[in-house]
C-alpha cells in the first residue's frame, strides 16, 4: 500500500481507494506532500531504530498541490475565502483592512437603533450576541465603599461620598439663584471628613436646572415646528447639559479634559451574522451570510484617548442570548445595498479612538404618548433598550475594528462604552462591554464569549417646569449621569 502511494500520479488520485489511515490526509491537500514524506520517515524509523537520524527532507521538487483558485468547486471556494482572510490579516494599515473588510457589496439589512418595531431589543440582542442585564454594573467609587448590588449601585455609592458637601453647597447656591430648582432630598449623614472627596452636587443640579429653564422658559422662542418638538427644547437642553457637565467634571476626571466632543456624529458598523439561502436572482440557491449595517447618529458623543476599564472579565457569562427563530425581515428589517462603512465618529488617525459616552435623543415619532395611545406601554422601555444595545454595539465594535480586530481576529481585551438615551425628560442609562466580534456562522461556534449590556429603565429627571422653576427634580438620575461621566481608567 505504501509503495503504491509513493508512485501515485495526480490523475490516479481520483480512482485510488483511500486507506482509512489516509482519510485525514485527504482533507489537508496542501500539507499532503509534507505528511507523506514524514510518513516515509516514520516508516524508516520503525523499520530500523538503530539507524542514524535521517537527513532533513529535501526541498520539495514540485510546488504544493493545493486547491485551484478559480475552479467551480467547494474546495476552490474555501481556498478563495482563506486567501481573502490572509489578505485582511496582512493588511498594512487599518484603513486598508477596513477597505478590504467592506469591499464586497451585497444587499444587507439596515438596522435602525431607534425603531418602532415590537420587541426589537430581543431581536437586536440575537443579532449581536448580547446578554442584557437589568441595572447598572457595580462601580467602585474613589471615596466610599462598594455598593452591594447593581441597580442603584452607582447612585448609592456616590451619594454616600457626596451628600454632606452637596447639602451645604446646595443651600448656599439656591440662596443666590431666585429662579433655581426645588431641592432634592440629599440628607447629610456622614461627618465632614467625607467632604474631602466632595462632588458639588448643588452646583451640578443648578447647572442642569439652568440649562432646562433657559431652553424651556427663559429664552423667547417661537412655537415648535410641526412634529419637531424634539428640536425645540430637548435637543439644545441635552447639548447644554452634556457639554457643561463635561466641562465641570474635568477637574475630577482628567480623561474628560483630553476628550473630544462631537455633535451629531456618524457611527457606522457592518457585520455578518448567521446564514441564509439566497431566495431569488442569479445567485439563487447559494448559502450566503446574513449581512447587517447600523448607521447611527447620536445627538452627542464623547471620545477619549484611553480605553475605559473592563467591567467583568472577558469570558464572563452573565445570562443567555435570546434566540429568535425567524428571518430578520420579519422584525421588520429591510435590505439595501450600499457602501459598507465602519466609522466611530472620526477617522483612524484621530488619537481619541475610544468611546466614553453617547447621548441619544428619542425622536418625536417614538414619544411615550404615542405608545400609550396605541396601548403599547410595555414597548416604551423596548425603544430605549433597543437604542442602547444597537448603538453601543455598533460603536464598540467599530472601535475594536479601528484597533485591528475583526471577526477572524477576535478581540483580546474587552471594549467598554456608555450611553444615555433620553427623550428630554426620561433618562435611561446603558453600559456595554464588547467581548467578541466573532459573529459569523463559522466563528460563532468556536467562540463561547458573549457581549454584555447593562441598562436601566427610563426615569424622569424632573416632573414639570412651570413659572421659572423646576418641580420634582430627581437627584438619582443626576447622580447616575455624573457617575457615567466620571468613569475613567484605574490609573488616572
Amino acid at each position: 500500500m505504501s509503495l503504491s502511494r509513493g508512485v501515485r500520479r495526480p490523475i490516479k488520485l481520483l480512482i485510488w481507494a483511500p486507506c482509512p489511515s489516509a482519510v485525514p490526509q485527504l482533507c489537508k491537500m496542501a500539507a499532503c506532500r509534507g505528511r507523506r514524506l514524514l510518513w516515509h520517515g516514520r516508516c524508516w524509523f520503525s523499520q530500523d531504530p538503530a539507524a542514524p537520524p535521517p537527513t532533513p527532507a529535501p526541498a520539495p521538487l514540485y510546488p504544493p498541490i493545493v486547491a485551484s483558485h478559480t475552479a467551480k468547486s467547494k474546495v476552490a471556494k474555501r481556498r478563495r475565502l482563506e486567501l481573502f482572510y490572509q489578505q485582511v490579516h496582512e493588511a498594512a494599515t487599518i484603513e486598508e483592512k477596513l477597505r478590504l473588510y467592506g469591499k464586497l457589496q451585497r444587499p444587507k439589512y439596515m438596522v435602525y437603533p431607534q425603531t418602532f418595531a415590537l420587541n426589537a431589543d430581543r431581536w437586536y440582542q440575537s443579532f449581536t450576541k448580547t446578554v442584557f442585564v437589568p441595572g447598572l454594573p457595580p462601580r467602585a467609587p474613589p471615596a466610599a465603599a462598594k455598593a452591594p448590588e447593581p441597580g442603584a449601585g452607582a447612585a448609592e455609592a456616590l451619594e454616600q461620598g457626596t451628600a454632606t458637601a452637596g447639602a451645604a453647597a446646595s443651600g448656599a447656591a439656591e440662596a443666590l439663584q431666585p429662579g433655581a430648582a426645588a431641592p432634592g432630598a440629599a440628607t447629610a449623614t456622614k461627618p465632614a471628613a467625607e467632604a474631602a472627596a466632595e462632588l458639588d452636587l448643588g452646583a451640578l443640579r443648578d447647572l442642569a436646572c439652568d440649562a432646562l429653564l433657559q431652553e424651556s422658559f427663559y429664552q423667547n422662542k417661537k412655537r415648535p415646528f410641526l412634529y419637531r418638538d424634539q428640536d425645540h427644547t430637548p435637543a439644545p437642553f441635552l447639548t447644554q447639559l452634556a457639554s457643561s457637565f463635561a466641562a465641570f467634571l474635568c477637574k475630577r476626571n482628567p480623561l474628560l479634559a483630553a476628550s473630544s466632543l462631537d455633535l451629531n456624529p456618524e457611527i457606522n458598523y457592518y457585520w455578518h451574522h448567521g446564514e441564509e439561502v439566497v431566495v431569488h436572482g442569479h445567485r439563487k440557491g447559494r448559502v450566503d451570510p446574513v449581512r447587517f449595517q447600523i448607521d447611527d447618529k447620536p445627538h452627542l458623543q464623547i471620545r477619549v484617548p484611553k480605553q475605559l476599564p473592563e467591567v467583568v472579565p472577558l469570558e464572563s457569562d452573565l445570562g443567555d442570548v435570546p434566540v429568535v427563530n425567524h428571518k430578520p425581515s420579519k422584525l421588520p428589517l429591510f435590505k439595501k445595498q450600499y457602501e459598507n462603512k465602519v466609522f466611530i465618529g472620526s477617522k483612524v488617525a484621530d488619537p481619541c479612538c475610544y468611546g466614553h459616552t453617547q447621548f441619544h435623543l428619542i425622536p418625536d415619532k417614538l414619544n411615550r404618548q404615542r405608545f400609550k395611545v396605541a396601548n403599547l406601554e410595555d414597548q416604551i422601555e423596548v425603544v430605549y433598550r433597543a437604542n442602547g444595545i444597537a448603538s453601543l454595539f455598533a460603536w464598540t465594535a467599530a472601535q475594536a475594528m479601528y484597533q485591528g480586530f475583526w471577526n477572524e481576529a477576535d478581540v483580546t481585551r474587552p471594549f467598554v462604552s456608555q450611553a444615555v438615551v433620553t427623550d428630554g425628560k426620561y433618562f435611561a442609562f446603558f453600559c456595554y462591554q464588547l467581548n467578541t466580534l466573532a459573529l459569523t456562522a463559522e466563528t460563532i461556534q468556536k467562540s463561547s464569549r458573549k457581549n454584555i449590556c447593562w441598562g436601566t429603565d427610563s426615569k424622569p429627571l424632573y416632573d414639570v417646569v412651570e413659572d421659572g422653576s423646576v418641580k420634582g427634580f430627581n437627584d438619582e438620575v443626576l447622580l447616575q449621569l455624573v457617575g457615567f461621566l466620571l468613569n475613567r481608567p484605574k490609573e488616572l
Binding site: G179, Q214, S244, F248, L261
Partner: protein, 392 residues
Amino acid sequence: MTPFVISFLFGSTPECQFSARDAQDSIRAGMEREGRRGCQLCADSLRCSAHLGFQLHVHSSEHSPTLTKPEENSHLRVFLLLFRGVRQAQWLTKTKLVQGLPAAVLSIAENPAHQLQEQEEAVHRAIAHARLWETTEVAPRREKYCPVLFEDLIHLCRSMSMKYPSLARRMLARNYRIAATWERESTLLQIRGLNGILMNSMTPIPPIASKEEILATKDHVLETFYPISPTIDLQEVIVYQELNDTGFKDGYPYSHPHTLYFLESANNRPNRFRPEQLRAKMLMFAFGNALAKARVLYGNDPQVLEQPIVVQSVGTDGQLFQFLVFQLNTTDLVSNDGIKNLVWIDSDQKLYESAQCVPEVKKRVVTKPTGIYGLQPETFKKFLALYLHGTV
C-alpha cells in the same frame, strides 16, 4: 418718518469695494431668498445695474392702506452687505474704532497662566478633527467643518473651568432673537432677528476704556459718506412696535451677554460674508445686544451710561478669525456729537495656513503629506482670552 430696518440689500455704487459681478451675485442671492423678481424700478431681470440694482420696499401707509399688521420678518435675514462695511456700521452706531484688541484682553492672552496644558497640540488636534477626520468623505465641506471647529475650540475653552470654577457660570444660547431700536439723526433704525450663538454670563464684563478715554471720544468726528446717505442700502419697512428685546425673559440668571459667535459656514461665496462685511455684522449685532441690555437696565431715555456695557464678538469662516470688543458708552444716538461708543477690532487672524486632506503627490512622490500646515497659536490665545475676559 418711515422707519428703516437694518437689512440688507446691497447697492452697487461706483465707490463700492467690490466688482459688479460680486454685487450682482449678492443681489441675486438675496432676491432668490426673498423670492423677488428683478428691479422694481425698471422691471428688468436680476442683472439690472442701471438703477443701482437694489429694490426699494417703500411701504408707507399712503400707498398701501390695506396693511394692517406689521411687515413681519422680511428684515430678519442677516444679509448684511453694508457697502462700506465697518465704516458705515460705525456711523449707524455712533462708534469710534480702535484697531487691535484692548490691552486688558491682550494681557490675558500673553499670560502663560491662562493657557491649557499642551495647548498647541490640543488646538492642532481640534483643527485636524474639524478639517480632516470628522467625516467619512475625503474632505469635509465648510458647512460641516466650520461648526465642528467652533465646538472643538469652545470645548477646549470650557475645560479651563478646571482652573477657574467661575467659568462654569456661563451658558450658550443658540437660535435666540434680538430686537433693538434706536434713532439716528431723524432716522429710526432697528435691528432684529436670529444672529449668532450667544454666550451669556452671570456677571457683566467690566468696562475697558477709562473715563478719560470715553470723554476723549467727544472730539472724534464720525465719518460720513456725502453725497451717499449711510442708510442707502437698508430696507425701509413699517413696524408697529419699536421693540427692544434681549431675547430672554426677566429673571434669567445669565442675563449679561458676554460673547457673540458668528459662523460663516455657507459653502458658496454669495451666501458667506466677506471679512469686511462680517466685521460690520459683528459690530451691528454686538451693538444691538448691548443696546437691548442697556434699555433693560437704564430705561428707554437716551443718556450717557455711568456703567458702560461691554459685549464681545468673534466671527469665523473656519480659517480666518475676526475679534471684536464693543463698549456701549451712551444711548444718546440722535446727534452726531457727544460721547461715542468704542469698538476694538482685530481682523483677519488666521488660525492655520492650510489643511491638506489628500496628500499631494508629484511624479509618484509624496511632496506634501496630509495634515494641518502653518498653525498660528496666537489666534487661539486671543480666542481663549476673549472667553476668559470678565472672569479672570
